[in-house]
Symmetry: D2
Subunit: 260 residues, 4 copies
């Protein structure tokens, strides 16, 4: 599937403010960036580095005034998402070194407190892919998906108590449940074709049977059309922007995905 994606941000900046942006999708195992564009208004010097997860991050100092970020890209991505019912649990002792970190609890995924709940949710399911599928199903039935703006980032335990959340929040609970079962899980931020309402999206991946699989508790069924921007342990690692200093006001943020 060939998609045209775009993301536009407008900030009101009071004093020159350092930003770290994560808005350049990169070519990888599941997607190819055929064309892309990335610009600032006004134009400022920016510097790009690769973080410890392999994401491309852009550093810059936003000048005072109105500051705009415009990115768009044409991406070839999978028509459908790989699914593997029955795929077995990967023993911890067989996990690649670089995957081990995704077993640990993180800021918004207190997996150390979800053990009992995960066991209950997945009782009777085959170890591995089916456990994660049971978790995804449980999320759909128990954490109401509300694609609204939440003003404050909540953690998985907080979301679980509250009973509803945005895509990011459902992913946090899903990730926490997986990790508590010794299944590595990570957060993905990016775009999804036909998402309604259209905005940036977040979902999660779990590592079973020797590879990462995609899960998304916000969708009735898993379809293709995902475009990843960043991977991390949770939302703290994959913020599309971090700013430092007096908070800049974000005036507009919009995302679009169209089929080419």
């Amino acid at each position: 599937m060939r998609l045209q994606i775009r993301c536009d941000l407008t900030f009101e900046i009071t004093v020159p403010t350092p930003f770290v942006l994560m808005l350049r999708p990169r070519s990888g195992a599941q997607q190819w960036i055929a064309r892309e564009e990335y610009k600032f208004e006004p134009n400022v010097a920016a510097y790009e580095f690769t973080d410890s997860y392999g994401n491309l991050c852009q550093r810059l100092i936003a000048p005072a005034g109105i500051f705009e970020v415009h990115t768009n890209a044409e991406v070839i991505t999978m028509d459908s998402v790989d699914q593997a019912p029955g795929a077995p649990f990967t023993e911890v002792s067989h996990l690649p070194d670089e995957v081990l970190g995704y077993l640990l609890p993180s800021r918004f995924c207190e997996s150390d407190r979800f053990g009992q709940m995960a066991n209950e949710i997945t009782a009777g399911h085959l170890l591995g892919y089916d456990q994660v599928k049971a978790i995804e199903t449980w999320l759909k039935q128990n954490i109401r998906f509300e694609p609204s703006d939440s003003d404050m980032l909540l953690s998985a335990t907080e979301i679980n108590e509250r009973g509803w959340g945005v895509c990011r929040d459902l992913s946090h609970v899903g990730i926490s449940l997986c990790r508590s079962l010794a299944i590595p899980a990570r957060m993905v931020v990016g775009y999804l074709y036909n998402l309604d309402p259209m905005e940036l999206h977040a979902w999660f991946e779990a590592y079973v049977a020797g590879r990462w699989y995609t899960f998304d508790a916000t969708q009735a069924e898993l379809k293709g059309g995902y475009v990843a921007i960043g991977y991390g342990r949770d939302a703290a690692d994959v913020a599309i922007y971090n700013q430092f200093g007096p908070p800049a006001r974000i005036l507009t943020q919009s995302a679009q995905v169209e089929r080419v």
Copy 2:
């Protein structure tokens, strides 16, 4: 200062259990490992890798029964800890790429919720080293240090509410306060000469004036004699052991530090 350090662990294992250990201190900027020993009882095949923070980690499968880990080393470390009153804040735009991650919130350091508190604690202090020193002083006066065993890992906000904690907990609060001021901070686990009671220790480092400085709210004054085993964002990254599967029972854990 030349120190002889040792750590001995004994586990009771019911089924073969994968472990990731972090018990091999490594030579670095502040310490030199002149001699070391690392053995298992019974002996098992172990494999070592370097994690994304540069720590040496050991993977193995502990067999059922009594399983012992014995490490000891002779380490040359600093006689005193560098301190730098007045050393300036490093602008975020000047931070090395690899330090940026230490500005983000993490499992036990919800720095996103400590902004106002950090501003109050450091009001009137020069930006940089003096802010961190003010935080360390505040910790000594407000979070009671109790070198007891806590059964459950609590996060910085939880510790702050409770008002007391072990060395790890005080570090978590300190780290959270620093990060909320855009000062990178990280957790260190290791040994400290003359620690009373003697056990493994945890402290934190903050990045100001272009380098990492040591802080420790559990000690009346900062002296030399630190030996680092691991660095990370918080306790989740620097557990001296992580086990997966039915929990193994730890029978004994002891640490010793002696001057040579």
Copy 3:
């Protein structure tokens, strides 16, 4: 300076052939990729990874038949190249860890055999930038630049004997001379505005006074307009394509740089 660069390759492939391409310039300290396009004809699945030098590399299997690679980008790059007469030699003990590898000899840069020659060429010059400038001047005067196709890659000692070479060859000799003086040096492959005749270009960088500086013995004077695609120890690391198996025939290769 805002440049439009493009590179087009056409291969005749007899059997499906694995390729590793290095044709995606990336944003970094000296350049910003504002727009880029990368496509294959016929379209094939490609996978991108970051090599140990930080370069973006594309892996694919080229199908039998005519296979085309088309890349183009709009890049904001420096109007002029930083120069620093008198900038001092960086003591080896002060070099960052990751720069040390650029002191070692490599496939086409037998720096272990250039010590005496480098001392003669740089005699009387200040240690550091001026030594490298003396090397660049020596190259201009002693190794004739012939922008022709050489059928076989020759090493620095071979080029030095032969007395002439393409841009890559002059860089190899320059790098070898620098390294033999304990000045880290690396190869860069990319584009240069106004290069005549226009094609892909290669130059070198030397590390003095705590940073990398650009040198280019093929140009009468150093002007701006460089766009880097890849960095490495020498041409072996920064081939714009490596193929494996029965050699594919390259039918056309063209590069263009235009000012926007």
Copy 4:
């Protein structure tokens, strides 16, 4: 097999000289460092880092006068070396990203010039392990192993012409032949039990059937007892010491391996 290894170096230094040493073996897939010791005489501050191949490297400035380096370790290593006649060639498109670099030519392994020779040597052999075994056999029969000191490092093409070499040289020819067949190959430096005469040793590994296998053309048959210190593309990457500045004179270098 449990081995006690040691290496002792004595230098005569005229002016303070930066060194990079590679003398600390590390625990890995094939060996476990149960005990080790590393000291300098006189004692100097040293700093350790991990290079891009995962080797532990020690940086220091050796003071003028007699300077000694003493390392010893107790290592648990394999009783026998894995061998796998018939193990298949790994298609380039299936090689892990981080292995690709071992297909490229390097300073002492001009694999770009060994293609025809490698094809002749391996004609009639199964692709993969058997090709490498044929190369090892050819080396034993055609490049005379002379465990003497060579004053100058020669490259694989030079050794092939000369017809004899030390362990390092035979490895370089073997590595070059493998790479020219698209089989990744790398150099290992370390110790070998029962080596005669006893000194530091070098051998090579080739990547077939999804993993690295050991080859050694200096030994009548492959036995266990190898202890690796460093891995790299060739001898340039795994020098046990590199010094910078006026050459220090090495007075003594000795290695020992004993069974415990």
